[in-house]
């Protein structure tokens, strides 16, 4: 049985694919035109409708007039369509063309909204795509157990549309998270992303209406299967939109302007609980719907005994995971409520006088305090800041006074389960091995196994990536480019996870050695065995050497005053100033070092 590794599957490039699709379609259209040139083509087809006298009349050469011409064109097109619908080859070509359109549309949206995709986004996208394809494939053939080609087509087109929107929404989420790491994102890209998210949300609403409509005729099961994913899609999209709005509110003044009115600071105080509850509600609803959807699939599949046991296993495992997630969320929320109540009952809000006496900002967020909660040690913090800290630790951030917040109902609140949460995510299986025995379901389906390497581009994952593996890859890169320091290569490999991609980055100049250290890291793999390199036959430090050879004046000493005490409003200027300051520091240190060595050799010579 063939095993396909999807990552290495050669996919044709888009241009070639769309050219072939267009060619195939034109061939079909040509065929159809030839076919309807026959005056009585309609009667010749075996399954076709009976030709009406009307048709003969229309193709009668004696018939004329401008109005008739226009009607002929319309009729002409619909005739071609009728011919093509009857021919299976043409039907497949048209479906292929539809896919091609979808891909082209996706590409256009990507160009318009996202521009160049980052490597991790690419990976995430590809990963999500294959995941979706395989799960839905199994769903359509394994669970709904469709037998007729028409049904297969309908389900497939439904899911392709849905998958398309899913991918776009996922991409928007990734991009939003990326943009939220930078203070200098242009306003325009926020608008574009928001517009895309709103469109996805509207479309998912539309699809929901369609699924209700279909469910009305097709029964409850059809409705449930169709709508589950749609609801999930709209919930996720809405969640991103709300998070995005909150984020935009957070950064609206580039962190520099203080909150200017009491009213505004009240809103600021409220946004903590809002974002907390939004996250909780959306996550829980999504998990619950997913769980119900999976339980529904399990029950449904038990009715049809043709189910492959593997599919059941997979579903069961995933259902268990969902259940565990819901439980975890619930525990976390109980802890949150407990801490909040404890805060409200035991620690009073600071009075106006106390706030005036305390001129400091909140020590957690460094913002001004217009209202604050007072701990027994008299330290003041924003209510929300304090709450989010006490959720994970039970001491005063400033003086470490241990507060008596021990949740009695769940004494194991500080259990490693909660703390190691990101780690747990990382350890989830990375490889999906799909085995599909198609002939079990429908005789014309093939049997195959597919392995999808499941690369999760979560941030924690990057940090936790196995260092030895990265080291080995970095050394591979270094054999090609000795001037790239190992650390730089490792860093890039963390995001690319592929030697080839990093090499490409080096070749295209996206990855360069940091300026100041370019000369210093000559030996490859110094990081790996610092001992042997360092202990090598080095002349002892301070040995006689001509320090006068070293020029100390190779620096055009910038006006340090212009660099130092200024914090520019423009981000590119800040970057430039920072770079200059760094160079300046290194040069200064270098000069001081050389001068000191010169002085000490001189005193040695004199004595």
């Amino acid at each position: 049985m063939p095993v396909i590794s999807v990552d290495r599957l050669p996919l044709p490039n888009l241009k070639a694919y769309s050219c072939v699709s267009v060619l195939a379609l034109s061939a079909c259209v040509y065929y159809a035109i030839q076919a309807i040139k026959e005056p009585n083509w309609n009667t010749m087809s075996d399954t076709g409708r009976r030709a009406t006298p009307n048709d003969f009349e229309r193709y009668n050469p004696g018939y004329n007039g401008t109005e008739a011409d226009a009607r002929t064109v319309g009729q002409f097109v619909s005739d071609i369509f009728t011919v093509m619908i009857r021919e299976p080859v043409c039907v497949w070509t048209m479906i292929n063309m539809a896919f091609c359109w979808l891909i082209l549309l996706g590409r256009a949206v990507q160009k318009l909204v996202f521009g160049e995709l980052r490597v991790s986004e690419h990976q995430q996208l590809r990963d999500k795509f294959w995941n979706f394809v395989f799960y839905k494939f199994i769903f359509v053939f394994g669970i709904i157990n469709v037998q007729y080609i028409d049904e297969v087509l309908l389900w497939c087109s439904w899911f392709s549309l849905l998958g398309f929107l899913h991918l776009l929404s996922q991409l928007s989420k990734d991009r939003f998270e990326y943009l939220s790491f930078s203070p200098r994102t242009p306003f325009w890209s926020h608008v574009k992303l928001m517009a895309l998210l709103a469109t996805i949300f509207a479309l998912s609403g539309f699809m929901f209406v369609v699924s209700i409509f279909v469910g009305f005729f097709g029964g409850f099961n059809t409705f449930a299967f169709m709508s589950a994913e749609v609801i999930l899609l709209s919930i996720r999209t809405l969640h991103i939109i709300i998070r995005y709005a909150l984020h935009l509110y957070d950064i609206r003044n580039e962190a520099s302007a203080p909150l200017n009115s009491a009213e505004e600071s009240k809103v600021w105080e409220k946004r903590g609980p809002i974002s907390y509850y939004a996250e909780l509600c959306f996550d829980l609803t999504a998990l619950l719907i997913d769980l119900v959807h999976h339980l529904h699939m399990l029950l449904w599949s038990n009715i049809f005994l043709s189910m492959a046991s593997l599919v059941v296993c997979m579903q069961l495992r995933y259902t268990g995971y969902l259940f565990h997630e819901i439980q975890r969320k619930y525990k976390k929320h109980r802890n949150y409520l407990w801490v909040r109540n404890h805060l409200e009952q035991n620690y009073p809000m600071a009075t106006g006088k106390e706030l005036q006496e305390n001129s400091d900002n909140c020590a957690i967020c460094w913002e001004k305090m217009d209202s604050a909660r007072k701990l027994p040690c008299l330290h003041l913090f924003h209510n929300t800041c304090l709450l989010s800290w006490l959720e994970q630790d039970t001491s005063c951030p400033t003086c470490r006074l241990v507060l008596d917040i021990q949740n009695p109902s769940s004494a194991n609140m500080e259990s490693p389960e909660l703390q190691n949460d990101p780690q747990e995510n990382v350890r989830r299986p990375f490889n999906h091995f799909f085995h599909f025995d198609g002939s079990r379901y429908v005789s014309w389906l093939p049997s195959f196994s597919v392995e999808v390497s499941h690369v999760q581009a979560i941030r924690q994952n990057h940090i936790a990536a196995s260092n030895s593996q990265l080291d080995a890859m970095a050394r591979q890169v270094q054999t090609l480019f000795p001037h790239i320091p190992l650390s730089t290569a490792v860093e890039d490999l963390r995001s690319t996870r592929s030697v080839e991609l990093t090499v490409e980055n080096v070749l295209e100049g996206r990855l360069t050695a940091p300026v100041i250290f370019r000369e210093t890291e000559r030996e490859p793999s110094t990081n790996h065995r610092p001992m042997s390199v360092l202990q090598g036959d080095v002349e002892p430090a301070g040995a006689a050497r001509n320090w006068d050879e070293f020029s100390t004046e190779n620096v055009e000493c910038e006006d340090t005053a212009s660099l130092g005490s200024r914090f520019s409003k423009s981000s590119s200027e800040r970057e430039k100033i920072l770079q200059k300051r760094k160079e300046h520091l290194v040069h200064q240190a270098r000069r001081r070092y050389i001068e000191k060595q010169r002085a000490s050799t001189r005193t040695e010579l004199q004595s």
């Binding site: 998270e177 939220s180 790491f181 203070p183 200098r184 909150l246 984020h247 509110y249 957070d250 950064i251 580039e254 962190a255 520099s256 020590a363 957690i364 460094w366 989010s388 800290w389 994970q392 630790d393 951030p397 400033t398 470490r400 500080e414 703390q419 941030r459 940090i463 260092n467 080291d471 650390s487 100041i516 250290f517 210093t520 890291e521 990081n527 610092p530 001992m531 360092l534 202990q535 080095v538 002892p540 430090a541 070293f550 005490s565 200024r566 914090f567 981000s571 800040r574 970057e575 920072l578 300051r581 760094k582 520091l585 290194v586 240190a589 270098r590 001081r592 070092y593 050389i594 000191k596």
Partner: protein, 167 residues
């Protein structure tokens, strides 16, 4: 909430730029990602690392300052509290929950009151006075205890490398 983290990081960056502590420079390398900084630390005077300028990378979590950043030297380092890949092991960078060494009191660990400046100052004092009980680099700890002369020689070599002076 990356938004509030961003505000706080911006405030810290501003403070570090306007009132830089002696021998310390830190800031985002590329403001496209404000959560990844580069810091330059000058070796403390009167120690074997005197005169060197050591580059390090700081990576902040999205929930900063509730969780500590991660710090990693990007130059070669040889020190009892620095792993051979450059990661720094000091108590201020450990989240309150985890305690890899098992002996730190929570008073020394991360709290949102800490800042980049405080981290870098602690790292400087760590360079001056290694804690040879932590086993981040066992070889370095052993050499620090038993063969100080050799340790100083290696440190000298590292210092020269960071300054771009041939050894």
């Amino acid at each position: 909430m990356a938004g509030s983290a961003l505000r706080r990081l911006m405030a810290e960056y501003k403070q570090l730029t306007l009132n830089p502590p002696e021998g310390i420079i830190a800031g985002p390398i590329n403001e496209e990602n404000f959560f990844e900084w580069e810091a330059l630390i000058t070796g403390p005077e009167g120690t074997c690392f005197e005169g060197g300028v050591f580059p390090a990378k700081l990576v902040f979590p999205p929930d900063y300052p509730l969780s500590p950043p991660k710090m990693q030297f990007t130059c070669e380092m040889f020190h009892p509290n620095i792993y051979s890949d450059g990661r720094v092991c000091i108590s201020i960078l450990h989240a309150p929950g985890d305690d890899p060494m098992g002996y730190e009191s929570s008073a020394e660990r991360w709290s949102p009151v800490q800042s980049v400046e405080k981290i870098l100052l602690s790292v400087i004092s760590m360079l001056a006075e290694p804690n040879d009980e932590s086993g981040a680099n066992v070889d370095a700890a052993k050499m620090w205890r038993e063969n100080r002369e050799e340790f100083d020689r290696i440190a000298e070599k590292i210092v020269r490398r960071t300054l771009g002076i041939p050894t």
